[in-house]
């Protein structure tokens, strides 16, 4: 089965991903962001890239998909640059597995 890739975030951050053939959805607010996120997951997108700026507002919604194999929700830096949340999440995974962040 063929899956698709989506990008979710603020308009200026995500517009460029259209050229890659990704499905682009715009959302700025917490409410629309969460709605779009769940919609994308339901529509069978395997990978959803979401800008950190939006991700920090819908953190709890993203956490719901953490333990299921699909979709993979991956944070990317938005137009205002990296907030370091994506990195933080990787370290959080290490802490979860090992008990202490040994790669810090």
């Amino acid at each position: 089965m063929a899956y698709k890739i989506a990008v979710l975030g603020e308009r200026e951050s995500v517009l460029a991903y259209k050229t890659l053939g990704f499905e682009v959805r715009e959302a700025e607010e917490e409410e629309t962001g969460a709605k779009e996120l769940h919609a994308l997951a339901k529509e069978g997108f395997a990978v959803i890239y979401i800008t950190e700026q939006l991700a920090c507002r819908v953190e709890s919604e993203i956490a719901k998909y953490k333990d299921s194999p699909l979709p993979a929700i991956i944070l990317i830096p938005g137009k205002t640059g990296s907030l370091g949340i994506g990195m933080k999440n990787v370290h959080a995974a290490v802490e979860r597995a090992v008990g202490a962040d040994i790669l810090a």
């Binding site: 089965m1 063929a2 899956y3 698709k4 890739i5 200026e12 951050s13 517009l15 460029a16 991903y17 259209k18 050229t19 890659l20 053939g21 990704f22 395997a46 990978v47 890239y49 953490k66 333990d67 194999p69 699909l70 993979a72 991956i74 990317i76 830096p77 938005g78 137009k79 640059g81 990296s82 994506g86 990195m87 999440n89 990787v90 995974a93 290490v94 979860r96 597995a97 090992v98 008990g99 790669l103």
Partner: protein, 218 residues
Amino acid sequence: MGMINVNPTRMELKRLKTRLTTARRGHKLLKDKRDEMMKRFLDIVRENLELRREVEKALVLANRGFAVASAVMSSEVLEQSLMFPTKTVELEVSYKNIMSVDVPEFSFAESDGQTIYPYGYAMTSGELDDAVDGLSRLMPKLLRLAETEKSAQLLAQEIEKTRRRVNALEYVMIPDLADKIKEITMKLDENERGNLTRLMKVKDMMIKEQFEKSENAV
């Protein structure tokens, strides 16, 4: 600690002993699983960190180019230029089994457009070209990032679970079973001794009775 009521019978003892050996074997296996998973996990996470660093740097760069382009061009033109992409991308998902954890593997197929630029060059700025070019070159890495990051998350969850199980076996179940077994053996031994004393006492009494009988006869 495990002074819960247990039936001090041989059958119970036998049952507990089998459970203890099973628990010990399970503990050893789970510990091995945890160690191996940890090894794989650390490899994946290292790659993940490396990729993330790379991708974030490149994306920030692409975003910057894009921001410049949107400053030079009017937003309508920019939007029009990007409205119809030349390619579509399709993702194939297969699953790889890492220590009984199913992690997704992505491979993508792009429909081949002749060019990655969905616009003519007349109305757009050079910065936009750079941004688009940078993004399209980043594509495989973006997907690999998705793959490793998801794998890391899934593995982390499984490791956490396994670690809990190992600890529960090591610090609760095995000592508990060992305690119960000890309790039963001690009770059984005690019964055995009680029985022996009783028998000796009875024998004494019988000898005494016999002795008195023979004395009376004389």
